[in-house]
């Protein structure tokens, strides 16, 4: 019997199995941000164990509330900053160099095929786009990761999606993942890894693959995974060119991290996505999904384009192409947050920032803020937001507010109309 990519990664990283179905894995990366890490740090200090297993494998960023909005968030940033300095953690991204964790860490080339990655953030599953096993964990797992460089997991049962056909113009990875979450339900992939495979994925950019894997957790998935291929190699090339003579050599090495054809799966789903329409959520669960057409005429108060799901350059380009030379609806306010400083710079050079501003968008610095109702775009009671983020939970972007998840194209088009609508890029 063959093995899935997750099983291969487990085999290559297993330290031991202290109990049946308890696999303690060696970690290649421990990522940290200022919301979930400070309590791990203060607990380590209290236990007299203020140490790190390897400062080169730990990467840290201030991203959730940045710049700090009050004394409490300033203190969280300070704890992380002081700790990074104290332990010689060189890859610490402070204010001015910081971006949304799941955008900036891949952009810096920190994730490679076959890696094990944890972070105290549920959307860590994003990094599976590189053919890595990347899992969100709580503060205690993070604390042990920081201290010992290990984490315990159960056997990685896997669900496989085989996605065939071609996405229509105006239909994106976000629409696809919303559709797949609807099919799985929010509890459908609990304790499981989700593999995204097939010609649709082969044709996708790394940015789109990250959008897909990012939302694996919304179906309960431990990690979303795409197989590494030449697209992965091209994305990573500037960081790996000293390790390999040619891109083909890198590809040969990385394709070790692909599931065997006779691997065993919990379930295999096959879809032809050719007729897939732009999708949007309703209600308070990410599996409550309808077509944009079914939800059109839903009035909105705010539009938000950004986050670890859809704040990358590809997303901004699509949104800007819809907003060019147009103005947002008078009854709507709109916010765009490029996910990293590098994305912001490219958007500036390409004239995208000007397009957003001319359309009436507020352009903010890179931050997670609005997505979880912490800062930079919190909703008032009864307000409705068209958002490119990942969670429509009750109160997520502000107490009493409603969130509709959608692609950047749909969000931009909805900003122009003041209600949920399909973009002109989509032709039914």
């Amino acid at each position: 019997m063959g093995k899935t990519i997750a099983e291969k990664i487990f085999d290559a990283h297993r330290v031991n199995m202290p109990f049946p179905d308890t696999h303690v894995l060696k970690l290649d990366r421990v990522f940290c941000h200022e919301i979930t890490t400070p309590i791990a740090i203060t607990d380590l200090i209290a236990r007299g164990m203020d140490r790190v297993f390897d400062p080169t494998k730990i990467k840290a960023v201030i991203d959730h509330v940045t710049p700090a909005k009050d004394s409490k968030t300033a203190e969280q940033g300070k704890i992380l900053r002081d700790w990074a300095k104290r332990h010689g953690i060189k890859d610490f991204f402070d204010i001015g160099r910081n971006g949304v964790c799941h955008a900036i860490f891949p952009e810096k080339g920190f994730v490679r095929p076959g890696y094990t990655v944890i972070m105290g953030d549920s959307h860590t599953c994003t990094h599976g786009a590189f053919g890595a096993f990347a899992a969100g964990v709580g503060t205690t797992d993070l604390e042990v990761g920081i201290l010992k460089g290990v984490c315990a997991f159960h056997f990685p049962k896997t669900i496989k999606f085989v996605l065939k056909g071609t996405l229509k113009p105006g239909v994106y990875a976000k629409d696809l993942i919303l559709f797949l979450i609807k099919e799985l339900t929010v509890n459908g992939a609990t304790n499981m890894v989700i593999e995204f495979t097939g010609p649709v994925i082969d044709a996708m950019s790394m940015e789109s693959r990250m959008t897909l894997c990012n939302m694996a957790i919304e179906a309960g998935g431990t990690c979303g995974i795409c197989y590494p291929d030449m697209t992965t190699v091209e994305y990573l090339w500037e960081f790996i060119k000293d390790e390999f003579k040619t891109k083909e050599d890198a590809l040969k090495e990385y394709t070790k991290w692909v599931s065997d054809e006779d691997a065993s799966y919990e379930k295999v789903y096959e879809y032809d996505v050719t007729t897939l329409e732009p999708m949007v959520t309703f209600g308070y669960k990410p599996d409550q999904v309808k077509t944009v057409k079914e939800m059109s005429e839903t009035k909105i108060d705010q539009v938000y384009i950004g986050s670890c799901t859809n704040g990358r350059i590809e997303d901004l380009r699509i949104a800007a192409s819809i907003l060019k030379d147009r103005k947002i609806n008078d009854d709507v306010r709109a916010i765009v947050s490029p996910a990293t400083p590098a994305i912001f710079s490219i958007a500036l050079k390409e004239g995208l920032i000007e397009i957003f501003q001319n359309a009436g968008f507020c352009v903010t610095n890179p931050t997670c803020g609005a997505c979880l109702g912490m800062s930079n775009g919190v909703l008032a009671d009864g307000e409705v937001c068209a958002s490119t983020t990942n969670r429509n939970f009750n109160g997520r972007m502000g107490k009493g507010g409603t969130v509709h998840l959608m692609s950047p194209a749909t969000a931009a088009a909805s900003a122009l109309e003041g209600k949920i609508t399909n973009s002109q890029l989509y032709k039914a």
């Binding site: 549920s122 503060t139 205690t140 929010v186 009750n394």
Partner: protein
């Protein structure tokens, strides 16, 4: 070890997420105790009043996929500082479940029909539950009846409960 005994709060809904258990705006707190007043503040459940209903409870019984969403360990911490160290459900989101055991708390899974049975026979009847950790039994008592229900717990999970969490265990063994 923590205490695993006391009055039960029944939450009759699936997919109760971490943002409902503890909203993100409170994640700027850097002590667990500060979370105490906000447990289940945003729970969407008809008739539920978080401050009154949580008071004096030690165990939660709920439906499927409890704790889905965020990785925030603030969710188990908010339970812990309110004296709730046991949640019994049909199943849990992976990260939430691991966080509970990592803190030395119980996240117990029971089959759907057993959960249904508990709701039908014990909800609204001043019910108490005690976890018999040595015999893997849930002792459930109401004003009308009392019985024992078996549950399964893995070796790793039980060890984390007995050793009061993952940090101490990991420090000794890795």
């Amino acid at each position: 070890m923590k205490q695993f005994s006391g009055k039960v709060l029944f939450l009759d809904r699936c997919d109760i997420n971490t943002d409902e258990i503890i909203p993100a705006k409170y994640l700027t707190e850097i002590t667990k105790e500060a979370l105490k007043p906000y447990l289940l503040e945003d729970l969407s459940l008809t008739g539920f009043k978080n401050k009154e209903d949580v008071k004096d409870k030690a165990v939660i019984v709920t439906r499927a996929n409890f704790g889905c969403g965020s990785s925030r360990e603030h969710a188990p911490w908010a339970l812990e500082v309110n004296g709730i160290n046991v949640v019994i459900a049909e199943n849990f989101a992976r990260i939430f479940r691991q966080n509970m055991y990592n803190c030395g708390m119980f996240a117990i899974e029971l089959p759907k029909d057993k959960i249904e049975y508990l709701f039908e026979n014990y909800a609204g009847k001043d019910t108490s539950i005690t976890i018999d950790i040595d015999n893997d039994k849930i002792v459930v008592t109401s004003s009308e009846q009392s019985e024992e229900i078996d549950f399964k717990v893995g070796g790793f999970d039980k060890t984390l409960v007995k050793e009061e969490g993952w940090v101490g265990y990991a420090d000794k063994n890795y």
